[in-house]
Structure formats: structure tokens, C-alpha cells
Amino acid sequence: MLRFLLLAVLCWAAPVLAQTMPDSEVRTKLSAAILAEDEAQEELIQTVGATGSPLAAEILGLWRQGSVYLDTTADGDKIPFIKKDGASLRIDTGAAFTPESPTEAETSSKLRKSIRTALDLMEVADPDPKTRASAIQKLGGTQNDEYLPVLKVRLEMETDKKVRKALEAAIATIDLTNEDDAVCIAAIQKLGTLKNLASMDTLKAMITSEEESDAAKAEAQKAVSILESYSRWVNAGGTLFSGISAGSVLLVVALGLAITFGLMGVINMAHGEIMAVGAYTTYFVQNIFGGGLSLSMFGQGLKIPGMNLTGSAYQSYFIWAIPASFLTAALVGIALERGVIRFLYKRPLESLLATWGISLILQQLFKLVVGPNNVSVSSPTYLSGSFIVSDVSLGYNRVFVICFAAAIVFCTWMLLTKTRLGLFIRAVMQNRQMAACMGVRTERVNMLTFGFGSGLAGLGGAFLSQLGNVGPNLGQDYIVDSFMTVVVGGVGNLIGTVCSAIGIGTAAQSLQAVTDPSMGKVLALGSIILFLLWRPGGLFPTRTRSLEG
């Protein structure tokens, strides 16, 4: 039923009239389109698109992603085909065949753009309201009145509230170009009441345009001021969200240091490199799930075979990478502790020098083992995309970071306060000798604590791989921020670290919003300085009565 209606709608709207097309014809047209060039190609795409055929949608979609292939036969013919479940299927017939010399069918951004428009038109009737809404918004943005009928018909049958709003906005945006002033003014008002931010630029342009009537200009002025005040709220919301998420990143990054430095007192300059270990582990796991990787360690080739997974099995790599990064980083941390740091507990300042040395060594090792370039870690599909909550866009990756930070803070807190190990850790850190006199196995506790802190750093690294560079210098980008976070929170205080991370994140993002990124950073540092001058022991200073305290 639905499909029938849509087809009817599309028939009016499509630039080239088309009857409901049988699949076979769709196939012929598609394969022709793939082989055609330039304008002819675009025209064919629009024709196929106008059919609304789901088959066309599927293949166009594949084409756009670059998953349509061409086989060149011995006599020079080209056969377009797709790959499905390991089989190659000809597009023109749908039959399976064995390609002789397959290549990828070429696409260009222009081509993809016209496929995109064709798909948008089809997606106006997509069962998923989100897809519908975004397609509608794009159609509106073109201000092309040829799309009006489609949108209007859709509006009559649309039940989803958000999609209706999108439809109304799209129609109004197109109506702005209507020569009838009344329609135009109504559209302006509509956009104002809809709080449609996307139309802000267009409306602003209308205010100064010479072609608009004074009435329209006045209306536009009004609408713009409504939108501007709304936009301020949206921006504030956005800033707050980015502040919290930036804070969570800081937290994820600094939590490990809050343990190794805050609790244990080791000035761990290699913290950043341990994070890099976590990030590289994620990279390795990704490649093992995918096509494997080859390294040239110190000039020796080393091939690590991959599992060649695809689809969601491959996408799940990140889930596995999280514990893997924790473990690898923890092992590296333990090795460090056993090898070097345990000799330095009585000389905490010297740990700065030793760990700085280690950080140099690790950086160069990354370069020699994995290579000097950054490596690429892709984001799994479930981490790309965003929710839109009243025009504030909340990226999945960011939401995930926030939840993840909350989760690891909770676990760490539980571990430190509710378990025996936690009690021992704190005892050992406060007075190593006395803890030993109580029978605590201090060596083991030290090792586990450092391992745990390093593991947390590894988790931080796994996360950063989703947001930024993975390369030998990864650690250097974050080390200063990490130390600052821990110290501002008050050394040795977990809750303090949490508050300071969120606080610094939000402050930095807000300051960036009112100035620019460079100045924002300078001002953020300035506020840290002022804060420390005001509270010289950090957010939650620890007190004792001893003179040294």
C-alpha cells in the first residue's frame, strides 16, 4: 500500500516520467548507468532512482560505497556485478558468474552526489524515520521546488512527529523562493516557529537581499532573532556536552596516572607511552580481526595473519580490543615496575628521570617496530553517528566515552574502597614499611597497583584510538594534560581527579566557544593557574597534622 502511494508521488515529481518498472528493466538500466559516462550517466541514475525500486536502492547504495565491480571479459566487454555472500552476481541479470578480471567500478564525488540525491528521493519513504527525516532535510536544503509535491504528499500521510517537523521545515525552506510574498512570509514565520536552524543563513541573506519585499525582510529579521536566541541555547547545550565529553576523555586518560602518580607517588613520565601501548594493541586487534598486518621489526619482516572477518564480526573488534589493551598495558607496566621502578620507591623524584628515559626508549621502539607513521584505526559503525536531542548533536563515540569513563571510575573506586586489595594499596602507598610490618606483601601490591594503573592507561589509549592519532607520539600529546588533571584534583584523590577532569574539560570547551581554540587553551591554562593559587592543594587537599603534610 505504502509503496504504491510513494510510486504515485514520485511519478509527479521525478524529472523523467517513469512507470513502475519491472526488476529486469531496472537491472538493465542500472547496468547501463554504471557503464555510461558524464551526463548520460547522471540522467540514467535519476531515471532508475525515480522508479523507487528497492533493488535500485540497494545497488545504487552499493555503488556509492564503491562496492560495485566491473569485470572485463577477454573480448573487452565490461560486465558490472556485485558481491554477495561470497558469490559474484551480475547486475544486468542477477545471475551468479565467475569474473575474469574484476576491478572496482569508478565513482567520483560528483557521481556520488547524484546517486545521493536519487537515494534521498527514495528515502523519503524509507521505513526508518531517521533516514526519512535526513533525506527530507536534504531535499529542503536544495530549495528546488520540483520536490515540493513529493514532500507535501508525504506530509499528509506522515505520522512520525519528528519527520513531520522535518517535512514542514523542508517545505517552508523551499517556499522561501516562492514569488508570492504571502507564501514566502508564511514560510518565514513557519521556519521561525519550527526553530529551524538550518535555514538561518538563507533567512539572513534575505534580510539584505534587494529582491525581497520590505515585509518579508522584516519577517525574516524577526525569524532570525528567534533563531539566534534559540541557537544560543543549542550552542550552550553543545558546548556543555562537548565539555563533559572532553572531560571524560581527560578522565580516561588521567585515571591511570591518578593511580601510578597520585597514589603511588611515581612521577610516571612514561604514562603516555603506556597509553600508546593500549592504542597500538587496539590497532593490532583490529588488524587481526581484519586482513592481518606485516611489520618490519628492526628490518626483519614479520607477518601476523588476520582472521579476515567482515561485517559485525569485524566490527566487534573494538569490544575485544578493550580488555586486550588493558592486559597488554598492564603487562608492560608490571615489567616496568619489576625492572626499574621498584628500586626507586624511596627516591620518588628520581622516578621522573628513569621513566622519562623509558618513555624515550618506548617512543623509539614504536617507531622501529610499527613504523614512524601514524597507523589507522577505524571506528566501528556503532561508534560513528550521533543522536540529535533538540538540535544538539551527541556523537555516539562521545556518549560512549562518557559512559565508559563513568564505568571505569566506578570500578576503580570499588576496587580501592571495597576490596582487600584496595585497602592494601592505600596502606602500602601511605607507609610502605609499616604496611610490611602488618604482613602486607608490599612487593606484590606495588606490582599489581602499577600494573592496574598502567592497564587503565592502556584503556585510555584504546579510547584515544577512536578519537585521535595512533602513533609514536600519542603519549606526548596527553602527558601534560594528564598530570595537570591529577594535580588539580588533589594528588591521591580519585574523586578529585574526576571533578577536575570534568571541570577542566568544560572550562576549556566553554572558553574555546567564546574565543578561539588557541586562546581558549591559553585561558584554560590561566584558569588552572588561578585555581591552584586559590586552592594550593588542589580540589580536595589531604590534611594531616604532621609538619611535613
Binding site: V249, G299, P372, S378, S393, A508
Partner: protein, 411 residues
């Protein structure tokens, strides 16, 4: 032995922040030297490379340059990536009358008699890219860059250029800065080195692009591209909505980016690995073979690509060789005279390059869009573009009033 070798300096950062980019240039230079040595050397002398690490530390660059010139007495140096490293060694080369070949795109505004710039000048990258985007129907340009001299200077030129092409100020995004009289003096959004959080900027671009026909002109440097593009993709922005043209991402940098999320973004260089010429094919094959056999420690052998800075370094070596052979001497003054004569050219992997009197090259410029495998598909090329270091002030704003958004009335 000393009699039949000639010392040649290689001055790049092999450690520190710049190593991610510069190490590849060291590799390709060593390759070029080996290639030349196999075919008989220069003037019958074998090239003896002196490789030093500038360690991303600018005073150290100056020290190393002094060492190369005063202690090792190298005939020529190939090196430097960042402008500041070049600026720090420039006085050293001028004082000792040395010879430096510089191969990485830069902002211009400099001309030293001791430096030959095989690099792309702004008019061999930024302006052709804008020409291309204008032709593609882009109307809004968001200028984004790192907060240092190259992006600032490039954007100064671009601002003049865009205005000269009739793009109104309102359509230039990223923020305008004005002097006390309200005159716009520069444009663009700048982020510090090592910036990692592009949430707000991407949100701003998303708004900027919401009304369509927008693009981003990015002079972001090195590392910062990764967080930027990850955020860009995560926000759901694609090359179809709003393409980004970057001047600092070559195939080599691409190895650190999730290529599948970047398909369709644009690049503009004077060489792409995907150029289908015999010279390029030969270059790539020989380089890959050389990598397999070389015993220089620390050279990454797997998954290597070639890119413009590498090829321009390579070109530089051959240009120098040609000049030396023509001058029949390694003497810097003689070599310089020959190079400045405008007759020295080399048919390199990216096409023919010719050294001009102004120490810059004439060469081909290519615009490409990225593909899933981290390569560029060439969309357009401009042939024999003459490199010009001093561009600022050469473009005058078009006298036509800035075009307001046209209202399309049904006629």
C-alpha cells in the same frame, strides 16, 4: 677514497613530533643516492650521505646544519620539513654559502640565494584547489588551519584570492579578524599544534554546511588531521555534503587516517602515487625493490607509499645532479648559476619539473580525491604551473559588489 666520493647532507627529524612525516624523506633520499651511485655517481664521484637527526628541535637543526657545512663539508643538503626548521638553518647556509634543497609545500614569502625550493608554492596548491572547487559550484569556503605561519599566510592569500573571485565575505567561514578600522585583515579558524578536540569546530562546520554548496579548505598540519577527520566522520559529515580539501595530507599521512571514512575528500599536490606514467611506475617499483634490500636500520619496509614531498625530494637530488654535471663542479656558486639559468629540468615521477630563476619549480599540479585504499584519484590537472613565492597582494578584490544569495523567482 675521499677523492671519489662527495658528501651530501640529509637533515630531517628522525625523532620527535615531526618524525612521522620526515622519516620517509630520509628514506627516499637514500634511495635516490643509491640509484645515482649505481649508475656511476655524480661527476664520477659516489655520493656519501651524511644523515643527521634534527629531532624536531629547531636549535638542533641549526647546530646540525653548522656541522654538515663546517665539519663534514657537504656539497649540498637535502632537508627540513617545517618552515621554522628552514628558517633556523637559513642563516647558517647563507653564512657558509651552502646549498639546501627544500621539498615540502610552504607559505612562500622567502627567497634565499642558498636555498632551492622544490616545494609547492601557494600558487601550486591552494589557489588551483580553490579554482577547482569554484568550478565544482562551491559557494562557501570554511578556512581551517593550524595556528602557525604556513596556514596563516596561505589563508591571507586565499582570502584575497576568494574575494578576487567574487566570493562574498559572508561566505568565508572560520571567523574573520578585523583591524581597528573594521577592515578585514585575515580569515580562518586556527587550532594549536597537537590540538585533539575538534568537536566544536566540526559542529560549526556542520552548521556552516547546512545550507549546501560548502567546502572546507584545510591547512591543518600533521597529527591534528586525524582527530579532525575522525570527528568529521563521526558527526556524519561526508565529502558529498561538504568536501574538505587538505594541503598537508599526502598518501604518507593517509596511512594514519581511517581511509574508508574519508572517501571523496580532496587533496592537491604536484604528485600523486596514482599517476599512471611510465616514469612514476618505474619510480615506485624501484623504490619498493630498494626498500626490500636496503640495510639502513630503522627503515620501515612494509606498507610503504610514495607522496609529493618524497618525489620533490627525489627530484631535488636529480636537479642538483644535473646542475653539477652541467657546471662540471660541485662548487656552490657555479652550481647555483647553472640552476638559476632556468635550463635545468628533470622528468620525474610527477612529470617534468624545471628550476626557475626564482629558485622555485615549474611543475604540474594535480587535484585528487581520496579512495578507500588511501590513494588519490586524479580529478584534474594543471600543467606547468610556475612556482611563485611572493603572492600576497597580487590578487585584487573583484570590483563587482559581493553577490548576495540570489533569490530564485519563478519566471
Amino acid at each position: 677514497r675521499a677523492a671519489d666520493t662527495v658528501k651530501v647532507g640529509v637533515l630531517h627529524s628522525l625523532s620527535g613530533t615531526m618524525a612521522i612525516s620526515e622519516t620517509s624523506l630520509r628514506d627516499v633520499l637514500l634511495f635516490a643516492f643509491d640509484e645515482i651511485n649505481k649508475s656511476g655517481g655524480v661527476l664520477g664521484k659516489q655520493i656519501e650521505p651524511v644523515v643527521v637527526d634534527g629531532a624536531s628541535n629547531w636549535p638542533l637543526f641549526a647546530e646540525k646544519a653548522k656541522q654538515l657545512l663546517e665539519v663534514d663539508k657537504t656539497a649540498v643538503t637535502f632537508g627540513c620539513w617545517t618552515s621554522v626548521s628552514r628558517k633556523s638553518v637559513l642563516p647558517v647556509y647563507e653564512k657558509n654559502n651552502g646549498l639546501l634543497f627544500y621539498a615540502v609545500q610552504y607559505e612562500g614569502e622567502e627567497l634565499s640565494k642558498n636555498i632551492f625550493y622544490t616545494a609547492e608554492a601557494v600558487n601550486q596548491q591552494a589557489t588551483p584547489a580553490v579554482d577547482y572547487l569554484l568550478a565544482e559550484g562551491k559557494k562557501k569556503f570554511y578556512l581551517l588551519g593550524s595556528d602557525y605561519v604556513y596556514p596563516q599566510t596561505t589563508n591571507l592569500v586565499l582570502l584575497e584570492y576568494l574575494l578576487s573571485k567574487g566570493v562574498p565575505l559572508a561566505n568565508i567561514g572560520g571567523g574573520l579578524s578585523k583591524d581597528s578600522d573594521g577592515k578585514v585583515i585575515s580569515a580562518g579558524k586556527y587550532t594549536p599544534f597537537g590540538h585533539t578536540d575538534y568537536q566544536q569546530i566540526v559542529a560549526e562546520i556542520k552548521k556552516f554546511a547546512a545550507s549546501g554548496d560548502a567546502c572546507v579548505v584545510s591547512t591543518l598540519n600533521g597529527d591534528t588531521n586525524v582527530p579532525f577527520f575522525k570527528e568529521y566522520a563521526a558527526a556524519g559529515l561526508t565529502a558529498e555534503d561538504c568536501p574538505v580539501v587538505s594541503f598537508s595530507i599526502s598518501e604518507d599521512e593517509f596511512r594514519g587516517l581511517p581511509a574508508d571514512q574519508l572517501v571523496g575528500q580532496l587533496g592537491c599536490w604536484t604528485y600523486f602515487q596514482s599517476i599512471q606514467s611510465p616514469a612514476n611506475k618505474k619510480f615506485i617499483t624501484n623504490f619498493t625493490d630498494w626498500l626490500k634490500t636496503t640495510e639502513v636500520p630503522g627503515i620501515q619496509k612494509e606498507g610503504r607509499v610514495t607522496c609529493s614531498p618524497m618525489v620533490l625530494s627525489y627530484d631535488g637530488v636529480y636537479l642538483w645532479k644535473a646542475a653539477v654535471e652541467k657546471a662540471k663542479s660541485f662548487d656552490v656558486d657555479k652550481v647555483r648559476t647553472v640552476l638559476e639559468s632556468g635550463t635545468i629540468s628533470f622528468s620525474g615521477p610527477g612529470g617534468k619539473v624545471t628550476m626557475q630563476k626564482n629558485h622555485h619549480l615549474t611543475k604540474n599540479v594535480y587535484i585528487g580525491e581520496t579512495t578507500k585504499d588511501g590513494q588519490f584519484k586524479i580529478l584534474k590537472s594543471f600543467n606547468n604551473v610556475v612556482g611563485e613565492p611572493f603572492l600576497k597582494g597580487t590578487f585584487k578584490a573583484s570590483d563587482g559588489k559581493p553577490a548576495a544569495a540570489k533569490k530564485k523567482k519563478k519566471g
